[in-house]
């Protein structure tokens, strides 16, 4: 039960968005997808969820090509959290979370659990368009959590970019619990420090190419980051013995 990317290439007009990307995301692990803007992170994730049919190569979801799977069957295996939540109707938070079960059997228990996990019970009856962006992101994450099975695949594109610190922590803790429960978690992010603390594996992209893939501690090095991001980084030691990676001031 895994997500396997096999030699994916895709272009938008003349722009090569992805070039021969091959990588695996294993169950029970959190895999971070890193890279500068326009590196191809979102394109890669859209190929994984079957929203985009790559020009070459394929994505295998549990051994089957993603873009050939019937939509309903794919929904039972993969849930997606986009970068910008979008709901063009005045559904309540609870109703949005219920949409995650659209193709699946109704489950009040899964929905109640998801609302609780994302601290949404107090605003469950509020219309989605009236929420802050951070609240909308939590509701969208809850929808995805309500959707997937314990051993399913969760694909997220910067899911916490607008959340406050408390909810970023609780959301990342949730992702950890889901992964520990057998889910495959594939998450694109910009925050390198968060990637270091959360992700077991990393895929580092630059201009559509996979620069490196593997354990986070091996993929993230100062030299490699400087090469990809064009910015110097340095390790800063913390009093508790941990360390954070920050861009240098110069």
């Amino acid at each position: 039960m895994s997500v396997r990317v096999r030699d994916i290439s895709h272009r938008y007009g003349r722009v090569q968005a992805l070039e021969s990307v091959t990588a695996d995301a294993a169950p029970g692990r959190i895999t971070a997808v890193l890279g500068p803007n326009a590196a191809g992170k979102s394109t890669l994730l859209r190929c994984v969820i079957g929203a985009l049919s790559p020009a070459a190569g394929c994505v295998l979801i549990d051994g089957e090509p993603a873009h050939q799977l019937p939509t309903r069957k794919l929904a039972g295996r993969v849930a997606y959290v986009p970068q910008r939540p979008q709901v063009s109707a005045a559904f309540t938070v609870r109703e949005v979370v219920e949409l995650g079960r659209y193709a699946l059997a109704a489950s009040r228990r899964r929905i109640d659990e998801a609302l609780g996990e994302l601290d949404l019970n107090e605003i469950a009856d509020r219309p989605f368009p009236t929420l802050s962006v951070g609240q909308q992101q939590r509701a969208t994450l809850a929808r995805a959590v309500a959707q997937i099975a314990d051993d399913g695949h969760l694909v997220l594109d910067e899911p916490a970019s607008a959340m406050d610190l408390r909810h970023v922590r609780s959301s990342t803790a949730l992702l950890r619990r889901l992964a520990d429960g057998g889910a495959t978690v594939l998450v694109a992010m910009h925050d390198l420090t968060l990637a270091l603390s959360l992700a077991d594996e990393c895929w580092l992209l630059d201009h559509g190419r996979l620069v490196a893939a593997g354990p986070t501690t091996e993929v993230i090095s100062i030299e490699r980051l400087h090469e990809v991001f064009g910015v110097g980084f340095e390790w800063i030691e913390r009093p508790d013995g941990g360390r954070v990676l920050l861009p240098t001031s110069a």
Partner: protein
């Protein structure tokens, strides 16, 4: 029963009752031709068929346009979408004008009524918009709106061209058609066809309700929850187009119904599309049949006015009120 279900039941009960009242009033409203006195009375059998036909046409067209409005507002993710945004009305008008022009050129009456030419024009435009409104093989909301607006403009220009070519005495005919009407002499076959289309449209629309709910998510999200968005959009387009074509062929363009009825229903029922389709159909019946009741009573001694005047004068201020109170959110 949860709060949402209770809201739906109560809302549908209110809308059904109001639609029934409008229907009964249409049958009962009596204005004496000799002295203009208005009263409520059951019609004499000699002319009762006129009122029943008008009611059936009004209910058919009101529900058809309203259902089309719900489908299009969901398809295009635009609360201002209406059945006329895809150019179908302009296509129907071009069909009518073309038939008039051919009649003028040849001296032969191409069609004794405007129904068939309007239907032909509407369906032709549907085909054009369908082919041109695709992106990467699937219907795209933005492309549909753009193509619809452009096709509308082109049809409008062609209508003006044909108007220019026919004698001035014929200009009034297309102008009157564009105002919309409730034809009290509709043949039973036409009524059964368009009425059956409206009923089927409502049933299919309600069945598509859960899918339309999921379609309110972004494209990738909607697909990721298991929605076959491409085929759904095709169904929504075809159904909305067919309902609009039938309504416009029968009655000409009656404005505001397809725009306002969905919002009025949303105010009462909320955003769930299954109940929204039925609620909007009832709201469409209330608006069109209600407008027909009003025009029986108010004519300033100059004959009954086109129904489009009443739907706009009722619908316009009502829509502004909805906007100002911040209700009828999409």
């Amino acid at each position: 029963m949860n709060a949402t279900a209770r809201r739906h039941l109560r809302g549908l009960a209110i809308l059904t009752a109001l639609a029934a009242i409008a229907a009964v009033l249409r049958i009962l409203i009596d204005r004496d031709p000799r002295d203009g006195v208005i009263s409520l009375a059951w019609p004499h059998p000699k002319y009762a068929w006129v009122r029943w036909t008008a009611l059936a046409v009004g209910a058919t067209v009101g529900s058809g346009l309203a259902t089309s409005g719900v489908l299009l507002q969901a398809l295009l993710r635009n609360p201002l979408a209406s059945p006329f945004i895809l150019g179908i009305t302009a296509g129907a008008g071009l069909g009518v004008m073309t038939a008039m022009y051919i009649g003028h050129l040849t001296g032969v009456t191409v069609a004794s009524s405007s129904v068939l030419p309007a239907l032909a024009g509407a369906l032709a435009v549907m085909g054009i918009v369908y082919s041109l409104g695709q992106r990467r093989g699937w219907l795209d909301p933005v492309s549909l709106v753009l193509v619809g607006v452009i096709v509308s403009a082109i049809c409008g220009a062609l209508i003006m061209l044909l108007q220019h070519l026919v004698p001035a005495g014929l200009h009034g005919e297309i102008t009157r058609w564009m105002m919309g009407r409730i034809p009290e002499d509709t043949p039973t076959a036409s009524l059964v066809l368009v009425g059956g289309l409206s009923v089927a449209g409502i049933a299919i629309g309600m069945a598509m309700g859960p899918a339309m709910d999921a379609a309110t998510l972004g494209d990738d999200e909607a697909r990721s929850v298991g929605l076959a968005l491409g085929p759904l959009r095709v169904w929504m387009f075809l159904l909305a187009g067919a309902l609009t074509a039938g309504a416009v062929a029968l009655c000409g363009p009656i404005g505001f119904v397809g725009l306002l009825a969905p919002h009025a229903a949303r105010l009462v029922l909320g955003p769930h599309h299954t109940s929204l389709v039925l609620g909007a159909a009832l709201a469409g019946i209330i608006l069109v049949v209600g407008a027909d009741v009003a025009r029986q009573a108010i004519d300033f001694d100059a004959g009954r006015m086109p129904i489009g005047i009443f739907t706009a004068l009722i619908g316009g201020p009502a829509f502004i009120w909805l906007l100002r109170t911040g209700r009828g959110q999409a």
